[in-house]
Structures are given as structure tokens and as C-alpha cells.
């Protein structure tokens, strides 16, 4: 049995006991399934609880008894009510309800709105937390295509290819992550209207998908054709940077630039004696990296691998060429 932390076990127990107290007999497997524990963990926690109660621990114990495959509950006296929600739990439920309420298809009288009402006293639901799930207008059309399982044609500006590309896709999810909206879609062969088999993630068994930044979709054309979505779970949104197949780069930055990198998943971060930071990052593409480096500016340098050493220089020089008629200002004479 793995070692579980005391705080996790306590949290679990303080919600498991009240749930049990409302029932007379419950199969152990049902408790395990509901509370995401193994049978052994359920038995261990409940046998421990059965020894607990009020001093002098002779007459006033938590009245639970485990027998074969079942948990028997006696007189519910202690721990009959669950602990209130913590601030973070409150916030997560509140945000989930708010966000889901804002999605298309929620009409007045929807059960979700009734839940929000009922929880309003419990959660101090008020106007202070606003969830804006709107996103760009195009997200609405994409959402419809997801729900209808409709094939759409995309004209898309690919940063990696630095060109406009055409794709036929089956949209699967639309999501926002760290400032941008994305379409997660399965690429489809236009000749056969079947999914292009890509490298599915064999470790997790998830479907092979492509990601498109919604603000780079130049044009989208519904086809009126539909496709049954491939079976299998979809990758979790927001984790795609974490593929081990992406190359890594080590960047050294002034600490004042830390916030610009903080929004990306970072493999490791080391603080040097002088306060500068060495950061190892996944590289989405050379184009992505050169933009990041030029945005970071002189306070950042690439330590390695060597193939990336010149990317910032070259990219900066290429942009500078558009301003070839101007010369860098002479700061030494104090001119503005």
C-alpha cells in the first residue's frame, strides 16, 4: 500500500464518514469506487476510524464495523455532517458552475441554474467572480462543428511553416489556455473522409490530434459532411507542451524577465548566485523560440543546444531589415 499523506487521509475521512453515517450497510467496493480508493485503503481507513471517538473510548466510538465485503454503520452519532468547503474548493465549484452556465444551451430553468441558486447561500456566490468563456466569435462556429461532428475546411496560418495551409479536420474540442484559444481536431484525408492516422500517444492511448490557434484560422468553411469521432480519449487540453518528443533549450535570463517565461511549462529552473535564472524549456518550434528570445531581449541568452545559439540574432536582423532606412538612435548625445 502506498504511503498516503495524513492531510489527504483526514480530508477523505471527514467526507467519507458523513456519507456512510447516512446508510446502514455499504459494500466496500462501492465505497472504494466512490472515493477513488483501493479496497485495502478503505478497510485501513475505516478500521482506524472504528477505533476513534470520544474519550474514554469505551462507550463513545465511531460506530463502524467491517465484515467481509461490507461496511456496517451503527448509531450515527459522530461525524454526521461533512466539513464545509475550503476556500479553494468553493472557488473551483463556483468557477465550474459559472463557466458551464455561460456555455450555449443553458436556458432559464436549466438544472445547473437551480444548482447555482441552491448553492448561493453555501458558497457566498456573488458577482465578484466573473467567468468570461466567450472567446473569439469563431469559437462559436467551431463549437457547433464539434457538437455536430461536422468536417470543416480550414485555411490556417502555420507559424512553423510560415505559410498559409489548407486542412480538412474534424473538430473535437475548443479550449482556452494561457491567453489563447485553440482548436483540438483530428486531421482528415479529403480524398476518403477518413482520419489521417497520426502518431497517437501510445503511453496514454489518446487519439492523435492537431492543435490550431483560433486567432490564426484565416478562414473556416463547414462542409456539411459528418464523421463519427474516432474512439478513444482525447488528450487533456493544456498539457501538449509536455511531450517528451519536443526538443529542449536552456535559457539564461535576468530575474526581471521571469514572468514572461512563467506561463510556459518549464522542465527545470535554477537560480544562480547573481540572481539570474537558468531555465530548461520545451521548444514548440524554431519560430516559436526566436520570437520568445527577441521578446525577452538582451537580458536573455541561449546556453544550448548549439543549433539554437543564433536564432535570436537572425530573427532580430530579419525584422530590422524592414527598417533599413532608419539607423539606430545615437543615445550618447542624449537625443530622444
Amino acid at each position: 500500500m502506498s504511503r498516503r499523506r495524513a492531510d489527504e487521509r483526514m480530508s477523505r475521512l471527514l467526507v467519507m464518514l458523513p456519507w456512510l453515517m447516512g446508510r446502514e450497510v455499504v459494500p466496500i467496493d462501492e465505497v472504494a469506487r466512490r472515493f477513488d480508493l483501493s479496497r485495502e485503503e478503505v478497510v485501513a481507513d475505516l478500521e482506524l476510524a472504528a477505533m476513534c471517538g470520544l474519550p474514554p473510548f469505551v462507550d463513545e466510538l465511531i460506530d463502524i464495523f467491517i465484515d467481509d465485503d461490507e461496511v456496517h454503520i451503527g448509531v450515527p452519532r459522530l461525524f454526521t455532517r461533512p466539513l464545509r468547503l475550503t476556500p479553494l474548493e468553493t472557488l473551483e465549484v463556483l468557477v465550474a458552475i459559472r463557466a458551464a452556465s455561460g456555455l450555449p444551451g443553458v436556458e432559464p430553468g436549466d438544472p445547473l441554474l437551480r444548482v447555482a441558486d441552491k448553492l448561493s447561500t453555501l458558497l457566498d456566490v456573488d458577482d465578484a467572480v466573473i467567468v468570461d468563456l466567450d472567446g473569439p466569435e469563431m469559437a462559436v462556429d467551431l463549437r457547433s462543428a464539434v457538437e455536430a461532428a461536422e468536417l470543416i475546411e480550414l485555411s490556417y496560418w502555420s507559424q512553423r511553416r510560415e505559410a498559409l495551409i489548407e486542412r480538412l479536420v474534424l473538430p473535437r474540442r475548443v479550449f482556452a489556455d494561457r491567453g489563447f484559444w485553440y482548436l483540438m481536431a483530428v486531421e482528415v484525408d479529403p480524398l476518403s473522409d477518413t482520419p489521417v492516422s497520426g502518431p497517437a500517444d501510445t503511453a496514454t492511448g489518446t487519439t492523435a490530434v492537431e492543435y490550431f490557434r483560433v486567432d490564426r484560422i484565416v478562414d473556416l468553411r463547414p462542409t456539411g459532411r459528418h464523421l463519427d469521432p474516432p474512439a478513444g480519449p482525447l488528450p487533456e487540453p493544456g498539457r501538449w507542451f509536455e511531450s517528451e518528443e519536443l526538443p529542449r533549450v536552456t535559457v539564461r535570463i535576468d530575474p526581471t524577465l521571469r514572468w514572461m517565461i512563467d506561463q510556459f511549462p518549464v522542465d527545470s529552473l535554477t537560480t544562480l548566485d547573481d540572481g539570474r535564472l537558468d531555465i530548461v524549456l520545451a521548444v514548440a518550434s524554431r519560430q516559436w523560440l526566436e520570437r520568445l528570445m527577441v521578446r525577452l531581449g538582451p537580458g536573455a541568452e541561449i546556453l544550448g543546444p548549439a543549433e539554437y545559439a543564433e536564432v535570436a540574432d537572425r530573427f532580430a536582423a530579419s525584422i530590422l531589415a524592414r527598417y533599413a532606412d532608419d539607423r539606430p538612435s545615437d543615445r550618447s548625445n542624449g537625443a530622444p
Binding site: A6, M10, S11, L13, V15, W19, R34, D36, L48, C52, P55, L78, P82, L83, R84, T86, P87, L88, E89, T90, L91, V93, A96, I97, A99, L103, P111, L112, R114, V115, K118, L119, L122, D127, A128, V129, V131, L133, W157, E162, R173, F175, A176, D177, R216, V218, P237, W259, D262, R295, D313, A316, A317, S318, L320, R322, Y323, D326, P328, R331
Partner: protein, 312 residues
């Protein structure tokens, strides 16, 4: 020595059921053999237990005895009303709606799963067509509490210390923002919570009147419009080459296109308060964008890029 979870469970039961607040000595006596004998070891173990319980949300009350036989002594108990979740019922439809909402928005969150159990539901799997990747942190929860208590918050941001009367939290495009009244600039401001440096200090409750957060369109989340310092609003003219021209026109609106050129390039007017964010925005286009005006913004970009090419 008893298993720690056993001791914690007994401690919670004791403090919930006691009719009077108890001192540590009384607690140790009642939970016979569960706390170490020595005074400082016992105190240490108890403080750790208290901290753990508070972290998981168990509210432990303390009072300092005023008179009587033991003045100055601390006593403990749990107020049942503060401990217990008020009872309420969800019908099957409502429970399902709640589970689906949490599955769509907070899939795989252990915290949300815990919350669902407390509310009498359980986590379900779901692949909702639209979702948001929501970064959660204790800073977000702290700020929400500050908003509720109407307390001024102080935090580091962009290298400076900011003091704000917070009145709302806004989740947009996958980032959290706190909106409020900036006390030093005497104006409404938006702050991106993941850019807050260090911890947030929360002041005294009831320090100001709450402003309802209406018209969220008044709270910009475009980085070009969120200023670190005291910057005024300015407008830049930027030329964008095709095929990105279409994308930019969609982003800023056709009414911001000042000129259309024969090759398909457009010149757009872009508002900004934050020159750094403006520069980043332009850099992202690479060779497909050129700043035309204002002169100092164009100058700054040239100097910035030249510094990178020359200085290596």
C-alpha cells in the same frame, strides 16, 4: 504513539463535542497516550496537528482565558456551525448538472472532486466540447476572500508595490485577473494574477465600499492595454503584410484599418498603454509587420533589435 490520523480524528471529535473550550493539558489528558509526554514535544506535536487541520479547512477556535485560575492560558474548541456544511438537497437532475459542469471545467482536479463529495455528488468523466484550462492557485482564493471582506490588498507587480481595493475576479482566455481600484493611481486597474510577485498581503476588513463589477468590457485583458506603470493611452500605426492582414483586421476590427495597399497589406491603428506589450505584439509578426508611428515607438523597436544583433 498512536497513528497520526487516529490522533487527528480523535482530536477533531473531541473539539467538536466538547461543551467547553479545552487547554492543551486537558486535551492531552483526554487523548491519553496520544501526545508525547514532554512539554515542548507535546506542544510541537499539537501545533503541527492544528496546522494540518486548518490547512484542510477545519476551523479551530482559540480563546485566551482572562480571569479565573489560569489567566493567559489558551483554550481550543471547534464551533460546529463553522465546521459543518449546511445541509441541502440536490435532485438527480441537479446533481448530474453539477457533476457535468465540474467534469467539463475542472476535470482531474482533486480539489473539485473533494468538493463534489462534500456536496453529495461524485466526479464523472466527460469530454465537453468547450473548456478552459484554468490555472488555480492559493493567490486566487486569497484574493476572493479579500474581496468578500472588503480588504485592501498589497502585492508586488512589475517590480513595484501596488495597493488595490479589489472588487472582482475575472477569468478570461485562461488567465485570472483581479480588477479593482488602484489606490496610488486613483483609477480602476486590471492585474493578471499569475504576474503577481510573491504573496498577497490582505489588510483590515471593511476598508472600503464594494463596487459591483459591471460591464466587464471596461476591464481590458489585452496585454497592450494593461499598463505596469503610469502610461497614457496611445495609438500606433502598423503595416501588416498578407496573409496575416486578414487575421489582424479581424482582431482589431475593420474600423481600425487606416489604409489598404495594392499588395494586400493593411495599415491598422492599434491602441496601447504598455509599450513593452506593444513591442512583443509586433515582434510576433516577424517580417510581416512594421511600425510606422509613433516615431518613438518605431525608434525603440529599432534600438531594441539593433542591440540584439550588435551586442553578441
Amino acid at each position: 504513539m498512536a497513528d497520526r490520523v487516529e490522533r487527528l480524528t480523535n482530536l477533531v471529535a473531541l473539539l467538536l463535542e466538547t461543551r467547553e473550550p479545552l487547554s492543551l493539558r486537558q486535551i492531552a489528558a483526554e487523548l491519553e497516550g496520544m501526545y508525547p509526554e514532554g512539554e515542548s514535544a507535546r506542544r510541537g506535536a499539537f501545533e503541527r496537528d492544528k496546522a494540518l487541520l486548518r490547512d484542510i479547512g477545519v476551523p479551530i477556535e482559540t480563546e485566551i482565558v482572562q480571569g479565573g485560575s489560569d489567566p493567559g492560558q489558551t483554550r481550543y474548541w471547534i464551533d460546529r456551525k463553522r465546521y459543518e456544511l449546511e445541509s441541502f438537497d440536490l435532485d438527480d437532475e441537479e446533481r448530474r448538472a453539477l457533476q457535468v459542469a465540474v467534469a467539463a471545467i475542472r476535470q482531474r482536479s482533486v480539489i473539485a472532486q473533494q468538493a463534489l463529495w462534500k456536496l453529495g455528488a461524485e466526479a464523472v468523466a466527460s469530454a465537453a466540447p468547450t473548456t478552459v484550462v484554468i490555472p488555480f492557485s492559493t493567490v486566487v482564493a486569497d484574493l476572493r476572500e479579500a474581496i468578500e471582506r472588503r480588504a485592501v490588498v498589497t502585492f508586488g507587480y512589475g517590480g513595484a508595490t501596488r495597493r488595490v481595493e479589489p472588487f472582482g475576479l475575472l477569468l478570461r482566455n485562461g488567465f485570472w485577473y483581479v480588477v479593482g481600484h488602484d489606490l496610488d493611481r486613483q483609477d480602476r486597474r486590471t492585474f493578471r494574477i499569475d504576474r503577481v510577485e510573491g504573496a498577497v498581503e490582505i489588510g483590515e476588513a471593511g476598508a472600503f465600499e464594494r463596487q459591483p463589477v459591471v460591464r466587464t468590457e471596461l476591464f481590458p485583458t489585452d496585454p497592450k492595454l494593461i499598463a505596469d506603470a503610469d502610461e497614457v493611452m496611445r495609438t500606433a500605426l502598423v503595416r501588416i503584410s498578407p496573409p496575416r492582414a486578414t487575421l489582424v483586421e479581424r482582431q482589431v476590427g475593420a474600423d481600425r484599418v487606416r489604409r489598404r495597399e495594392p499588395d494586400g497589406s493593411i495599415v491598422v491603428a492599434v491602441d496601447y498603454r504598455n509599450p513593452t506589450a506593444m513591442r512583443s505584439w509586433v515582434i510576433d509578426f516577424g517580417v510581416d509587420a512594421e511600425i510606422l508611428e509613433p516615431e518613438d515607438l518605431r525608434r525603440d523597436l529599432i534600438d531594441w533589435l539593433s542591440g540584439m544583433v550588435r551586442g553578441r
